[in-house]
Structures are given as structure tokens and as C-alpha cells.
């Protein structure tokens, strides 16, 4: 019996957004990355072609992190002690773009200075031609000071600057506006707050093709279903035509998964949990793939093996025939 598959035709679409600028475009990137443009729910190729593949970013730090899993530090080795080397290693590991996460303090325990943040960002840009996202340490004052300096020193590169939050977005948006960068808008798993922050940012005059949104997600086993629902709801609203939700979504499964016990802890766990490294990578990969299926456009990972596995999953998801 022939089965008629019902097809949705949506009035709205996600905005297409390009990160990075080549020399011809006023930057120094070897290539750019474009995301978004979806006209249907994720991977429903029979409804509408997905014009751009989701992409994988690898997260690196401005200095050797104190709070990362030994599994990650072991994997990255000496590269993790120097942002330029780490950027090269991450590019070699197959990242489509890089996230440079600035630390709150330097190795000496003193607050990270704007000069140090700029030096790290410049070193990364010099070492790798990939587009770059720069996250502040996550404290309003430090984020503003450091990101403003980085934005000015890298004018024209079309970086994405994060994190804009409802209590702290004006300085970062202004820095992005003045220096031809993008921003990422982060809200704590809440559709109303996500939309509100997008409205506030766009009210400042930042063009809508320069906003990414990070709805935050939780990890597998730690509330990911809430994150999934929020992303699904935002994407449905975007497809229904709500302009203030039509932004590509960036999510951080690396950060989320590596703080889950299953990934973080190697000792004192049941034997049937199996090999620690394998488990941790599985946790990161499954968190990422789940989020891809709920509409993520950019997944930020930490382990190179997870990059390989998530890329394989994206390849599979994208190869279903388009019959729209």
C-alpha cells in the first residue's frame, strides 16, 4: 500500500549567518563558515533542503585550564599550554571553527588583562585560518573589559563575541557593532528569555545576520530533554515566522558533557560503566548529536575523537535523499 508522507511547508526560515571574513572581506580568515537557512525541521530533507551543514567548533583556552578533565589535557598534551599551538592542533583535529574561551585569571592567579586576552586572540588568528568565536570568562565585568579589547584589536574579522546575557549585553553588542563582529546571546533554557534577549540586542541596531543564540542545554542525563524542548520550540517558532527566533543556534555539549559525572569521574564508579575514556567521549558525542537533532547549527566540543564521531553522524544525517 503506498504511504503518503505528510509534508509541512513552513512560512518562515532561519537566518543565514556567516562567521569569519577573508582578506577580500576585510579580515584574515582562510575561509568562512555559513550556518542557518533552514526551512524545515532538522534533517527533514523531504520537506526542504538544508542549505548548510551544521558545523563543529573546538573549544580552546587562552592558557592551560585548571578545571578540565585529565582525559582532555592528556589528549591535547603540550598544545593545551599555548593557544596558538592548541589552535593548530584543533584545526588538525578537524574543527570547522574555533572557540577561544578566555580565563578569568592568568596562571599567576591575577585577573586576565585585556592585553593578555588580545594577545591570545591574535595568536590564535595567526596560527589558524579558521573563523573564531571568543567567549569571555562569564563574569559581566571581565567579559565586557576583555571582549571590548579583543573586538577592537580584531576589527573586521567577523568573530562571534560571547556571552551576551540579559543582564549584560550592551557593551558586547556595542563592541560588535563598532568592529564588524557577531554576538552570541545566551539564556538559561527558557524560550521567553531567549526571545526577549534577541529583541533587546536587535533593538540596539545590530543587524539580524550577526546574532547567534545559545539556548543552553544541559548534558545527556542532566536535563537535556528540557534543552531539547526549548530548542525545538524556538525552531518551530522560527519556521512559523517569528523573526525574533530565526537565529542559528550554537550549543556547548563539550562544556555540558564534561561536567557530567559519567565523563568527569574515572574512579569509584561501578565497573559496568566500563572504560572511562570511551564513556566520556560517548557522553560528549551523544549530547552533541541529540542537540543536532533538535536544531543546533554549531556544536562546541572539547575532545578530538568526539569531533570525528559527531562529524560521522552529521554525514549520515545529511546524506538522506532530498525529495522536496
Amino acid at each position: 500500500m503506498p504511504v503518503d508522507i505528510p509534508k509541512d511547508k513552513w512560512p518562515g526560515a532561519v537566518r543565514t549567518i556567516t562567521l569569519g571574513a577573508t582578506p577580500a572581506e576585510g579580515g584574515t580568515r582562510a575561509r568562512t563558515v555559513t550556518v542557518g537557512g533552514e526551512k524545515a525541521l532538522p534533517y527533514m530533507h523531504f520537506e526542504a533542503e538544508m542549505p548548510y551543514r551544521p558545523v563543529i567548533a573546538l573549544e580552546i583556552k587562552d592558557r592551560r585550564p585548571d578545571d578540565w578533565s585529565p582525559l582532555l589535557l592528556e589528549e591535547w598534551g603540550e598544545a593545551a599550554s599555548d593557544p596558538a599551538s592548541w589552535a593548530k592542533a584543533a584545526e588538525a583535529a578537524g574543527a570547522d571553527l574555533l572557540v577561544l574561551a578566555l580565563s578569568l585569571t592568568g596562571a599567576d592567579g591575577q585577573p586576565t588583562t585585556p592585553a593578555a586576552a588580545v594577545a591570545a586572540a591574535k595568536a590564535v588568528l595567526a596560527a589558524s585560518g579558521l573563523p573564531l568565536i571568543v567567549f569571555g570568562p562569564g563574569q559581566a565585568e571581565a567579559d565586557n573589559t576583555l571582549l571590548l579589547a579583543v573586538a577592537e584589536a580584531t576589527k573586521g574579522e567577523r568573530l562571534a563575541l560571547g556571552i551576551c546575557e540579559d543582564k549584560n549585553y550592551r557593551t558586547i553588542v556595542a563592541a560588535a557593532l563598532a568592529n564588524d563582529h557577531l554576538v552570541t546571546a545566551r539564556t538559561p533554557m527558557d524560550v521567553n528569555l531567549a526571545k526577549q534577549l534577541n529583541i533587546l540586542i536587535s533593538d540596539m541596531g545590530l543587524p539580524l545576520d550577526r546574532i547567534l543564540m545559545d539556548p543552553t542545554t544541559g548534558a545527556l542525563g542532566y536535563g537535556i530533554e528540557y534543552g531539547y524542548s526549548v530548542m525545538e520550540r524556538l525552531r518551530l517558532a522560527a519556521l512559523q515566522g517569528d523573526a525574533m527566533t530565526q537565529f542559528p543556534m550554537i550549543v556547548t555539549p563539550g562544556f555540558e558533557a564534561w561536567k557530567a559525572k559519567e565523563a568527569k569521574v574515572g574512579q569509584g564508579v561501578p565497573a559496568e560503566w566500563g572504560n572511562w575514556r570511551e564513556r566520556a567521549i560517548t557522553w560528549e558525542t551523544l549530547t552533541a548529536v541529540t542537540l543536532l537533532e533538535s536544531g543546533a547549527d554549531i556544536v562546541v566540543l572539547r575532545h578530538p575523537e568526539s569531533v570525528r564521531r559527531v562529524r560521522a553522524a552529521i554525514d549520515d544525517l545529511m546524506t538522506a535523499p532530498v525529495t522536496a
Binding site: I199, L200, M244
Partner: protein, 311 residues
């Protein structure tokens, strides 16, 4: 529209302070003010008062009944305190607000209501919380609340079903379902049980300046499905004007005509369309946008009125 005045509510700092100081005059003024503004009953929400309920509830009854004659609604979970208050009532038939379908509450509270011949607000909420879907809420009324009233021979005309308004800011998916719950509840019994809601809950957590608009647009929509009683702010003149327009079918202003169209569309199970709205009139545009968030068509955001319409 029968309005149970909501303003004696412990969430207000002024009420909290006045209660701590046992400032009788404050409560008497607030009571008179609400009744003069049209409230036909007064809700008294002083919190659970676990420690001093048996003293505070009688005090508030005597205080308020000294100046007004309307029914008093005891809005508390403290049954002992409520009983102490009920013993002091000398004027109109009071209301207990509320019981839920949760076993223990449903066992005890209706018996107190019967003993003191009060009306009883019954929430369509069981032990697992408030269901989203209209049908599930109606089922709670049909399977739990009404049967319990019948069981103890409590008059259904005194059983006021409250299908629960939740805020558009955070529980948006509940908003359209509540409309349908009210529509269906009227077929739950013959004659239909009285129905009441706490209107202002729809705008909890919404910035203060947007609350009245959301409240009155929702009110018009709920009137469309037959709502005739609610706990609300009787001092909100714009709300009362919207109610008047609907009740008197006053089509003399453009906004009034829009309210009537909205009311009639909801009554007919239809939706307001862009063609019903004069988009050059900012007041009508604001109503249109508010309808869209209340029907969960557009995701609510605090700045939803600033967002360009995408019809």
C-alpha cells in the same frame, strides 16, 4: 461579570505591613474601595498563617464586615484558620478558596464548606499538578470535584470550579487550553457549575506596565467562552471598561468593535484575523499582539509589544 476583589493579598507589601501592625483602618479602606469600585465579593489572602490563623482570620472578618456586606472569600490553605474565620461571619454567604482534587484536601475542605454553608472554589488540580490540556482539567472536575460534592450532598450551585489561569510568561501553552477548559466545563453538569478564575495570574512575572493589557484582553476572550465570575482587580478601570463594552455590546469605538469581534470569534471557536484589526491604530495592534501570545501563536517575551508584527 461577578468580580471577587483581589486586592487584600499578602503578596502586596502594604498589606503585609498593615497585617503585621493590625491596621484595621487600612483593610477597611481597601475593602470599601473595592466594593465601591464594583467588587461583589472580597478575596482575603493572608497566606497560610500557620501560627496565628485562628486569631488573624476572625480579626480580619470582624474588621472587614464592619464596613462592607459582601461575601468574603477565604483564600488560604489553613483550614483551621478558615473555620475560625467562618464562625465570625455574620453577613453574606462566604466562600472557601479553595480545595483541589488532591485526596486529603478533597476529603476535608468540602465538609467544612458544607458545615458552614459556604460556597467552595474547587481547583482542577490533582496531586500531580495542573494538567496542560483542557480535557484533563475538565476530567478532574467531572471525575473528582463534582462527584465529591454529590457524595456529601453539597449543592453544585455552590461548587465553583476554577480551571486555573497560569502566566503567559513561562506557562504559555496553558493559556489557550484554559479558554477551552472553560468552554467545555459548562457542559459538565446541568445546570452548569459556576466557574471562576484568578484573572491576574495570566500576567504574573510580566513587567508591570504590560499586565493590565494582557489581563483585559484575556478577560474578553474568557467572556467569549462564557466566564461570568473571576477574582480580579476591581480598581482596574480599563478592565472594567472592556467588560462593560462586551456586556453592553458597545460598538461605538474602534477598539470596542475589536473587543466585540474578539469576543465573538472566541465564542464561535474561531480566531481573530489580521483583517479584523486596523493596523494603523497602535491600540488595536497591541491587542492583536496580545491575542497572539495568549493563543500561544507567538512566543511571549517581555518586549513582545515592541516586536514588529509578522502576520
Amino acid at each position: 461579570m461577578y468580580i471577587i476583589g483581589e486586592n487584600i493579598h499578602i503578596i502586596s507589601q502594604r498589606v503585609k505591613d498593615a497585617l503585621a501592625a493590625k491596621d484595621a483602618r487600612f483593610f477597611q479602606e481597601l475593602a470599601v474601595q473595592q466594593v465601591e469600585a464594583g467588587a461583589q465579593a472580597l478575596d482575603l489572602n493572608l497566606g497560610p498563617r500557620k501560627k496565628d490563623g485562628t486569631e488573624v482570620f476572625p480579626w480580619i472578618v470582624e474588621t472587614v464586615e464592619a464596613v462592607v456586606d459582601v461575601p468574603l472569600s477565604f483564600d488560604s490553605t489553613n483550614l483551621e484558620g478558615i473555620e475560625a474565620g467562618l464562625k465570625k461571619v455574620t453577613k453574606a454567604q462566604p466562600i472557601i478558596n479553595s480545595t483541589s482534587a488532591e485526596e486529603e484536601r478533597l476529603e476535608k475542605v468540602p465538609l467544612v464548606a458544607k458545615r458552614y454553608n459556604t460556597r467552595l472554589i474547587a481547583l482542577t488540580m490533582g496531586k500531580s499538578g495542573i494538567p496542560v490540556s483542557a480535557d484533563e482539567r475538565v476530567n478532574i472536575a467531572l471525575e473528582k470535584l463534582i462527584p465529591r460534592a454529590l457524595e456529601i450532598d453539597f449543592p453544585i450551585s455552590d461548587l465553583i470550579i476554577d480551571p486555573l489561569v497560569l502566566t503567559v510568561s513561562g506557562c504559555q501553552e496553558y493559556c489557550p487550553e484554559l479558554i477551552e477548559a472553560i468552554r467545555t466545563l459548562q457542559f459538565a453538569w446541568d445546570p452548569p457549575p459556576p466557574i471562576s478564575v484568578g484573572l491576574s495570574n495570566v500576567s504574573n512575572a510580566v513587567p508591570r506596565e504590560n499586565r493590565p493589557l494582557i489581563n483585559r484582553v484575556y478577560c474578553v476572550m474568557l467572556m467569549g467562552v462564557g466566564l461570568k465570575m473571576m477574582i480580579a482587580d476591581p480598581l482596574d478601570e480599563a478592565l472594567k471598561e472592556a467588560i462593560r463594552i462586551v456586556e453592553q455590546r458597545d460598538a461605538s469605538t474602534p477598539v470596542g468593535r475589536l473587543y466585540l469581534t474578539l469576543h465573538d470569534r472566541v465564542a464561535a471557536g474561531e480566531e481573530l484575523t489580521v483583517d479584523d484589526v486596523d493596523m494603523s491604530d497602535p491600540e488595536q495592534v497591541a491587542i492583536w499582539k496580545t491575542v497572539q501570545i495568549l493563543l500561544n501563536k507567538v512566543i511571549y517575551a517581555d518586549s513582545y509589544l515592541q516586536q514588529a508584527t509578522t502576520a
